[in-house]
Subunit: 140 residues, 2 copies
DNA sequence: GCTAATTAGTTAATATCTTAAGAACAAATA
DNA sequence: TATTTGTTCTTAAGATATTAACTAATTAGC
């Protein structure tokens, strides 16, 4: 019988926990939660996204995203506008304040990302990336 | 500059999400949350654990575990007793009812685990396991 | 022996996750 | 056009995550 610790989902959880521990201290300075930062990072890349697309990119469910966006809006980090084509859709963009904050914080977090990836070999990192990509495409 | 989707922490999150989607429907039948099942699985393996050890094995922080244990105790799935050696420590065990439930549900979930792992090659699975194990040992 | 520093567990506050249900709008169909 | 069906986003309720602070019990230092 398979042992408790011998579990891919558990190891994925722990591994993610370890990787996030590299970034959390920096995010706390701002302060932002890891989900808030993920949303800001996605918006920095795609400039403008519908709520549903944003949720998909960030792997955050819609009900969670609603709250996250409310708080980011409160902090003046994002703004919402209705899609002119379809009144159901909300289009979301970063504010200038958020863009400025992102540009300032991003280099430190990128450096931290390299600190993390540098702790494993390039081969391991490439293999991990490839297998995770496969895993993400599975359907039950 | 690194792309948004090109992120190991994000891929770990998505991969875990995918793997958990194999088990969630079964757990909902009981019903149990994934964290509750994790705690029960750990206790099935170690028989008796202190709260802190249990939290460590399950990758659940103490404040979360307090609530999870309260609910499991409410459901008559676990019982707590004070350590005779150190009155600060709580020792936790499964109830007979939990053990019975575990024995009934475990085969189905094990089968589901194989369904999942069978979707990737044995080589990929072994490589993934090995790299995740390394990753879990990193210190920021 | 006594006090200071540690440790295990809990409580509190805020944020997020998960599922289900609801409101508003849009597209499809009779 | 009126009804139906589907989609987007939000609300609601219960559970968990995260950080800080607190209580009670133990240990370290003197």
């Amino acid at each position: 019988m398979r042992k408790f610790e011998d579990s891919i989902p558990l190891k994925l959880l722990k591994a993610r926990e370890v990787t996030m521990s590299f970034f959390r201290p920096i995010l706390q300075e701002i302060p932002l939660t890891e989900q808030q930062w993920r949303v800001i990072r996605a918006l920095n890349e795609y400039r403008e996204l519908e709520s549903k697309q944003l949720a998909e990119h960030c792997s955050i469910l819609s009900p969670s995203l609603t709250g996250i966006l409310n708080r980011l809006e409160q902090m003046d980090y994002i703004q919402r506008r209705k899609s002119p084509d379809d009144q159901r859709r909300t289009l979301i963009t970063l504010t200038d304040r958020a863009q400025k904050m992102f540009n300032e914080m991003s280099p430190r977090l990128e450096a931290r990302y390299r600190d993390m990836t540098d702790k494993l070999s390039a081969e391991d990192m490439a293999a991990l990336d490839a297998i995770l990509t496969k895993l993400c495409k599975l359907k039950p």
